[in-house]
């Protein structure tokens, strides 16, 4: 295999990637993405976590430190399988607020502050530069290995030239596909798909090498297990601090690394992608690390002492004469390096253009910028930034020149990126976190990271002088970079991680606790932390004095003419207007800002819009208005509910009252007709007989008889009127009760005697229990006796048994006396039982002469007046009534009843 063949393969591979990206971009423009937005592509694109550092470096790491390399993959695994806890919220916020980068997220959360965006951008660029250099270096190294492996390798490449070409090629690719257009959301389907392809290539390459090692060189699984046990691989260093610390560091980095944020949050389309990736991405990492230990073990065994373990993946197949496999491995490593560099430079370029270049541009040329198409500026800025980032990486590579273990640079970059974590976590879960706190934390963390980790990584005497290493900054012993505050003997990485993240977090908390946030910060805080509640929208615009035309001009500068016109037209139509100029309502301004933010970041979009709307900040009043608005809605709905319940109650009461009134009206009509009937009958006979009498010429016997009839009828009338009067007095409650102590037995005796006048021809068997009747009641004895007489007379009248019996049972319970009158007649049918106490209720017409049917009605009224009751007692074999009276009726009780 010749070196030229290698270069050719490499070029073909790159051309294939270009083709993939190109085709996908074209399909995306035509809106036919289909499966390209599937969770699978998303998961594969996440694999840029596995850079050349992983592809080559993991084996070296394992050869040097045993199993510690696993932490780099286990940390992200924990984050992803726990996606419900954290990633879900992060991704939702990213989608909802059209976040373009991690700097944009931090700046947007903390009041759309551009200075925060700048700080995060600086951190990201500084942390990423050595990492990019690392990728360039790995490509150069792998080229070099092929060059030395070839006998005629005299024509081998110059390392510096290779790196330069690779950097230029990557810049070209990124610029071509990363800055084609300014999207409404910063998404790049072409690049993402190309990366997914590369992910497959590197996985296949590493698995192939692994399988070759396990089944080709070693004799299968059991053999490899034996070899691992016998190997000289260092023990798994049981260092709790380093193991735990690295787990944490990798977990933090997978969220905060700009390239991871780009593919995970910015390029995310829906939650399904994340759901699938929650286990598929850990599975990818699992497969990537499956054969690392075997490769390391076999490499140490087979290859000459002193060969670079970082390159075992490549050198092992070469040494075994497997040219094709080595080529595959080379392409895998190449893929790892290029995909990382492409996405990283793209993400950094977005940050640089949105948070540094555009704000500067707008500030420096506020007038001139008014008319021109800003999109050109943004895209140029990105292109230049991509070039600059790669130039920085190349410069770093040239500067550092010499060989540095891949793992150490990677971890330092991880720690740099992780400085964003405290602000990010606080921003997502703590509403109280504010801009000052975030800024203090970021600056502190960045400074400590630089001093304890980044600058020392160049070695003593390079960035920091030997004196600083030995005696500390300014000769202060407690400011030595690797033993800050006098903490000696700690692992340098752990030392840097401990101090930077501790003080970083401390400053975030302290700053937030002490200072007071501005209104926009508070609104954004509430909107981000409660993103799932959907209660608080992001900061909104009051209806300002913005000219729709000026807004349109600005939108065209950023979104492009067609997109801006479409947006404005849709908004105008939504407001029910023709044309392209909608009213600048708060809702429209919010939509517009979100669209602009998707292109140039939240801070810039906010600043540009506030220039036009004429008010740079939200006031506390606006804040309160939003808060009270939602509170009012809640309160209003609660009030509505209460009112509705009340209405239902009132309606029920009204319906009841109406039913009662109707019933009463019917009763009144019935009563009137009854009473006129009752009065009319005796009056008719009186009138007829008196007419006969006035004619004269009648025998005296007839006169006497007629006179007697008239007299009887008159008495009947009187009795009827008496009863009616009595009833009306009782019903009004204005009856005068004559309360005194009376013997129940005496009253019953009186009543029985009096009732004998009713149908005296019938002989009744009266059963009484005299012992129980010996009770003295305090009541109105005459009235009560009247009730007794009525009940006994009724029994005499209506009991239809052949040998009629009447049983009077008396019982006393809880201060009340119950007197039952039970006869052995047929009883009263069930359906009539509720009627008998009504006026003029007579069940049969058989004994009509007996009374007007007012008896039981009067009884009931008397009993009510006496503080007791009368009720029909069913199930006693005959007609049975139960009277209940209080043993001692008090005056007070009467007053209360009538009052």
């Amino acid at each position: 295999m010749t070196f030229n063949l290698l270069v050719t393969a490499c070029l073909l591979y790159v051309i294939a990637l270009f083709a993939v990206a190109f085709v996908v971009e074209r399909r995306a423009r035509m809106g036919r993405l289909g499966w390209l937005r599937s969770p699978l592509v998303y998961t594969l694109s996440l694999s840029i976590y596995c850079t050349a550092w992983t592809f080559y470096g993991a084996v070296g790491y394992a050869a040097r430190s045993g199993l510690e390399f696993l932490t780099i993959y286990l940390g992200p695994t924990l984050v992803f399988i726990g996606w419900w806890l954290f990633l879900r919220k992060l991704v939702r916020i990213g989608r909802q607020y059209r976040v373009t980068s991690i700097a944009d997220l931090i700046s947007s959360r903390f009041g759309k502050s551009n200075s925060l965006g700048v700080i995060v951008t600086v951190i990201a660029v500084v942390a990423a530069t050595p990492y990019i250099a690392l990728q360039l270096q790995s490509v150069v190294l792998s080229f070099g290995i092929f060059a030395t492996a070839i006998p005629e390798g005299a024509a081998g490449p110059d390392a510096g030239r290779t790196a330069l070409w690779v950097a230029v090629g990557l810049a070209l690719f990124t610029i071509l596909f990363g800055t084609r257009n300014l999207d409404a959301r910063e998404q790049h389907h072409g690049i993402v798909t190309a990366i997914a392809v590369e992910a497959v290539v590197k996985l296949v390459a590493l698995l192939s090498v692994g399988c070759f090692v396990v089944w080709g060189i070693a004799g299968g699984l059991s053999d490899i297990v034996a070899r691992i046990d016998a190997s000289a691989l260092p023990a798994w260093q049981v260092e709790p601090g380093r193991w735990t610390g690295l787990l944490f560091l990798a977990a933090a980095a997978v969220v905060t690394l700009p390239r991871m944020f780009q593919v995970m949050v910015v390029e995310n389309d829906d939650e399904d992608q994340l759901v699938r990736a929650s286990w598929a991405f850990p599975a990818y990492l699992f497969l990537m690390s499956l054969f690392i230990v075997p490769i390391a073990v076999v490499g140490l065994e087979r290859l000459p002492v002193g060969s670079n373990p970082d390159m075992f993946v490549l050198t092992l197949p070469l040494a075994e004469g497997q040219g094709a496999l080595a080529m595959l491995a080379f392409l895998g490593g190449f893929s790892s390096a290029t995909s990382m560099v492409i996405v990283e430079s793209l993400a950094l370029a977005t940050m640089i253009s949105n948070h540094v270049v555009i704000p500067l541009w707008l500030r420096l040329r506020p007038r001139a910028a008014a008319g021109e198409d800003l999109r050109g500026v943004v895209l140029s800025a990105r292109r230049v930034a991509i070039g600059a980032v790669l130039a920085l990486g190349y410069g770093y590579y040239q500067l550092s020149g010499g060989y540095v273990a891949l793992a150490s640079i990677g971890l330092i970059a991880f720690l740099g990126a992780a400085q964003v974590l405290p602000a990010l976590l606080a921003g997502l879960f703590w509403r109280g976190a504010n801009r000052t706190g975030a800024m203090l934390g970021l600056i502190t963390g960045f400074a400590i990271w630089c001093f304890t980790s980044f600058l020392p990584s160049f070695g003593p005497g390079a960035a920091l002088s030997e004196a600083v290493f030995a005696q500390g900054l300014f000769g202060l012993g407690w400011l030595r970079p690797q033993s800050l505050f006098g903490v000696e003997g700690m692992d340098p990485l752990l030392h840097a991680m401990f101090w930077s993240l501790l003080l970083n977090t401390g400053m975030v908390c302290a700053g937030s606790l002490v200072t007071f946030p501005g209104p926009v910060e508070r609104l954004q805080g509430a909107a981000f932390v409660n993103v799932f509640d959907g209660e608080v929208g992001p900061q909104r615009w009051a209806r300002g004095q913005a000219e729709p035309e000026a807004l349109l001009t600005m939108a065209q500068r950023i979104l492009g003419e067609d997109a801006a016109l479409a947006l404005f037209q849709a908004a105008a139509r939504g407001q029910g207007r023709d044309g392209f100029l909608p009213d600048p309502t708060p809702g429209f301004l919010g939509t517009l800002e979100a669209r602009l933010a998707g292109s140039v970041g939240a801070a810039t979009a906010h600043a540009m819009l506030s220039q036009l709307v004429g008010r740079a900040t939200v006031t506390v009043d606006d804040l309160m208005a939003v808060a009270s608005e939602s509170a009012q809605i809640l309160e209003y709905s609660a009030q509505l509910e209460a009112r509705e319940a009340e209405l239902t109650r009132t309606a029920g009461a009204l319906r009841e009252a109406n039913a009662k009134l109707t019933q009463l009206s019917v009763q009144k009509d019935a009563f009137l007709s009854q009473i006129s009937h009752e009065l009319r009958t005796p009056m008719a006979s009186v009138s007829a007989f008196s007419e006969i009498l006035t004619e004269g010429d009648l025998p005296p016997a007839k006169v006497t008889r007629f006179g007697q009839i008239i007299h009887d009828e008159a008495r009947r009338l009187t009795r009827l009127l008496d009863d009616l009067l009595d009833l009306s007095v009782l019903e009004n409650g204005s009856v005068q009760l004559n309360l005194r102590l009376a013997n129940l037995q005496g009253m019953l005796d009186t009543a029985l005697t009096a009732a004998q006048h009713t149908r005296p021809e019938r002989s009744f068997l009266i059963q009484r229990d005299l012992a129980y009747e010996a009770i003295h009641l305090r009541t109105d004895a005459d009235r009560l006796t009247q009730v007794f007489i009525n009940l006994i007379s009724n029994a005499r009248k209506y009991c239809d048994a052949a040998t009629p019996e009447l049983r009077i049972a008396v019982r006393q319970r809880a201060g009340r006396v119950m007197i039952d009158f039970i006869d052995n007649g047929r009883g009263i049918p069930k359906e009539s039982q509720s009627l008998i106490f009504e006026k003029f209720a007579r069940l049969t017409d058989a004994n009509r002469a007996g009374g007007a049917g007012l008896g039981l009605a009067i009884c009931r009224e008397i009993m009510t007046n006496l503080g007791g009751s009368v009720a029909y007692l069913p199930g006693k074999g005959g007609t049975a009534f139960r009277l209940t009276v209080p043993l001692r009726l008090e005056e007070r009780g009467i007053a209360a009843r009538s009052g």
Binding site: L74, F80, W236, V238, P282, D533
Partner: protein, 88 residues
């Protein structure tokens, strides 16, 4: 911010109840996983000077277990109806 209104039901139907418990399990998974990954630190007292294959096998088994469980959980956690809100 207080949760909105009195509309949050106190008790749930069987299906939603299951879904909530699944979410609890999903929250628990990384914590349990972390515990299992840290376990060897407590059990091993670093006297060995060579890597043992069973360490490798243990870690990879824990890893695989986490992936499988996460894959089992994943379909149930998909946000099928937004109306159920977030619950927590």
């Amino acid at each position: 911010m207080a949760k909105a209104g009195p509309k949050r039901p106190l008790f749930l139907a069987r299906a939603s109840y299951r879904r909530r418990r699944l979410r609890d399990a999903a929250r628990l998974l990384p914590i349990v996983g972390l515990g299992l990954l840290l376990l060897p630190l407590f059990l091993l007292t670093g006297t060995r000077d060579h890597l043992a294959a069973r360490d490798v096998i243990y870690l990879f088994c824990v890893w695989l277990g986490m992936i499988v469980i996460a894959a089992i959980f994943a379909p149930g956690l998909r946000n099928r109806d937004a109306r159920e809100g977030d619950e927590d």
